[in-house]
Symmetry: C2
Subunit: 500 residues, 2 copies
């Protein structure tokens, strides 16, 4: 148990550098342990006899957030610098997501019931075997800095855990303590309205790394869901691996997402593609984990024209505030390193501003693909409005570049539908990412049953699941088999259904 | 790279202590790396254009094993001491399993295709999103000592990996190098018959711990499947966690499996239950990972009579050979520790023999449940023909005991169908295991779609999946999403189907 950090903290308005409202203190180790212990006790008690419906809870959380939308957006605008329009849309996405999870719970498909009928005539005789998914226990959630709602306190991970039937302990993002606190109030009001224990959900504030490690290593925590930086995610993966009882850490850690533009596509609609890419690079000031980070083209006239247009767009791009001073520092450092990297040339930079706060302008650089495939230089994620154009001499070098890329979350592919190059490019991209987008930008993840937001390490720590969409609760479920049970004793989901 | 161990080794006949045929040497680090590198190259090449069918490969392996069944059983009998009847049955289970996986591959269900149609009228407009599972890459398999075929070189894990479309590198169990080599010959003949690269499957011999760690930490390996001891499994979990690129380790590590007999069941059919439990404890000389390890009863006359019958059966049980000298040493040590544990009393011991080899007789002990729940004593897995009876004063103590148990693979539940105690016992057991069996023994896992062979840590390292049955390939698959692609460019599985 650590001594409580007595220093209060608050968010900072990235548009002005001024302190945002509210005063918060780091949760102590005892508070972390108590939250997880209470969540486990509630989980065990609900396992005996359910007193509330997961779907009703999800809908109630949506309702409470909708009722507080204006206040939540105002707080988030002060703590993140994101625009009111963007935040209003994000709240709608968040409550839509909660209600969609409620519908999926109602459908029963998360339980994945399977019934294998007995076959007494088989050799050896086959018993009646049925199985379904059960919740794994207490889920600890780390929200992302760039989506204070959709990936926040009541965002996708919390919704997925609730949908799986798991209680949640959230570690609030240190940059938006007030937004987190207000959202937690909405969740607690929802718990009350459906008759659930208040221990089913807890919020822990904390700026200190130790608070997070304390939660991830807490014996009463059964899984971790994290969205954020690679260093933050890997720290939790390591901490969890060292527990006496290891637990899964589902860390979504961002990436350098590739977008490929084939010569045919560049020739057919280069100007439009440049517009789309330019918009995707600066949307939310580049602070989206599916932002195009590297744009691969075969060097020809059409591609040069496309990149010329893109460079003009970004050079004309205005400064926007980054989320917080840490994000700004990381962006400045990343941009400097990119500019200084061997064989890399900056070809566009938007106008800087000397306003206080975290304002930063867009950046576009270029590099020869051969410098990347030969290892002369490496491109790492620059979180913010920056991207790199990689010039390939020909299609063979483009394929070689794609083979050498570090795995990412999403890949864009601007090509013509009938192009011969389409298949070899797709094969290489699908080995590297969780989601391929044809003829469109990778940003803007639609939440549905087919959604995949994940990818091979280091994009995520576990690539067998998605962190967004209706199958995300699978992360917090485990299958349990029932052999030879009398019909009446089986869980309802295994009783109702005919043999499948 | 280590220097090749020049010392040759072979198996040992546990029935006689004599050296079994064959002479093998540990694979060198260079050989381990070369096998994994070749497997990756084959995987990448197949990703471009498939040259063989996974289902055809699975069926061909089954055919080649069937053709060599007599030779394989003879080799395994010499290296494991298991009976010819048991081994013949296990070969049939193994080839049946391979063919069942082939049927599942043909069904397409492993791909879990999902199609979300576009909705241009939605706000924001929903794109066409589709997803399916793709193979993750090279799977390294550690076979179990107790199932030289069903969990061996071409056992469930290899079959599951092939079904997922992944190449396999097997680390042979050190106790049956010849059985492993002969099985690998069957797999290679199958690869040849379907036109697959011989690099799609490799066998590595090795007694040394270093050979295994070398494989698990090899950069070209993408997942590990292990069946064996807790110490062996945890060593691989730790080794994989320390890689620069962490990979999943699916370790099935055995357990102390609980069986509960309620007073009503003991009263209604105590003698029959004693017969069933006695058979399950000594089947394959107790060397089954689902063997009942702890039998929980409420102390009354019927339960005493049941345990009396069980003790008589085990005391009359003959010595049988254990798998190898290491298993024998562990059993002797485990039995001694059990007998010496506080509050534990040995109540039956079969007749020992002084034959050379690994012969050991059954053992039954008893303990008061209060000694377990209070932490006075602990029961650990004794791999071999041993079990412990836990006496509970009443149903409340039985429930408390179940809450205190370490998680396991399977739980037995002898109860009456209408009994009030059934629900609270089920709820506690389903938190602790992957599979509950009503009114029957936990040994004998039927391979089907509803099969769950897994359980919370420490029974397995990752409890979100099963290591046996038709959904086991999910461990080696990851979802990939395709957004906005033209129909003709999509993988066939996403093209053929209507919107789901």
């Amino acid at each position: 148990m650590t001594v409580r950090a007595t220093a209060e903290f608050s968010g900072t308005d990235p548009r002005t550098g001024e302190r945002a409202p509210g005063a918060y203190v780091d949760a102590t180790a005892a508070e972390v342990a108590a939250a997880a212990r209470a969540a486990r006790a509630a989980f065990l008690s609900e396992g005996d006899r359910r007193t509330f419906s997961d779907a009703a809870l999800l809908r109630a959380v949506a309702e409470q957030i909708d009722a507080r939308a204006a206040e939540l957006c105002e707080a988030a605008e002060r703590e993140t610098g994101l625009t009111s329009a963007r935040l209003t849309g994000e709240v709608a996405r968040t409550t839509g997501q909660l209600r969609a999870f409620a519908d999926v719970v109602d459908s029963g498909e998360l339980l994945e019931p399977i019934v294998d009928a007995a076959d007494p005539a088989a050799t050896p005789p086959r018993p009646d075997q049925r199985r379904m998914n059960l919740p794994i226990g207490v889920v600890a959630v780390w929200g992302a800095g760039n989506f204070p709602f959709a990936f926040g306190v009541a965002g996708g991970d919390t919704a997925a855990a609730f949908a799986a039937g798991c209680p949640v302990v959230v570690k609030a993002h240190p940059s938006h303590p007030r937004t987190s606190e207000l959202t937690a109030e909405a969740v607690h009001a929802a718990l009350l309205s459906v008759g659930a224990s208040s221990a089913w959900f807890s919020l822990l504030q904390g700026r200190e790394h130790a608070t997070g490690v304390c939660l991830a290593t807490c014996d009463d925590v059964d899984a971790v869901a994290f969205t954020g930086s690679r260093s933050g995610g890997l720290a939790l993966v390591r901490a969890a691996a060292e527990r006496p009882r290891p637990i899964p850490v589902y860390a979504e850690m961002g990436a350098v997402n590739p977008t490929v533009v084939t010569p045919a596509a560049a020739s057919a609609r280069g100007a439009q593609i440049a517009q789309e890419l330019g918009g995707a690079i600066v949307a939310s000031n580049g602070q989206l984990c599916t932002k195009p980070g590297i744009i691969a083209l075969v060097d020809d006239g059409a591609a040069r024209a496309l990149v010329g247009t893109l460079a003009e767009l970004l050079a004309a791009g205005e400064s926007q505030p980054l989320l917080d001073s840490r994000t700004k520092e990381a962006f400045v450092r990343g941009a400097d390193e990119l500019a200084a990297a061997p064989a890399v040339e900056v070809i566009a930079r938007g106008a800087e501003t000397d306003r206080p706060g975290s304002w930063q302008a867009p950046l576009l650089a270029q590099v020869a693909a051969s410098a990347l495939t030969s290892g002369v230089t490496q491109v790492e994620e620059v979180f913010g409005p920056a991207a790199v154009v990689a010039w390939c001499a020909d299609e063979a070098e483009l394929l070689k570049l794609l083979e050498s890329l570090e795995p990412a979350l999403a890949a864009g592919l601007y090509a013509e539908a009938e192009e011969a190059a389409l298949h070899p490019i797709m094969v290489r991209l699908q080995r590297k990412v969780g989601r391929l987008v044809f003829d469109g930008i990778t940003t803007g993840v639609t939440v549905g049953r087919a959604t995949v937001h994940g990818g091979p390490f280091p994009a995520t720590s576990i690539d067998g699941h998605t962190s967004v969409g209706m199958t995300a609760p699978r992360r917090f479920l485990r299958p349990v088999g029932f052999q030879g049970f009398p019909e009446a004793a089986l869980p309802a989901a295994l009783r109702r259904r005919a043999a499948s």
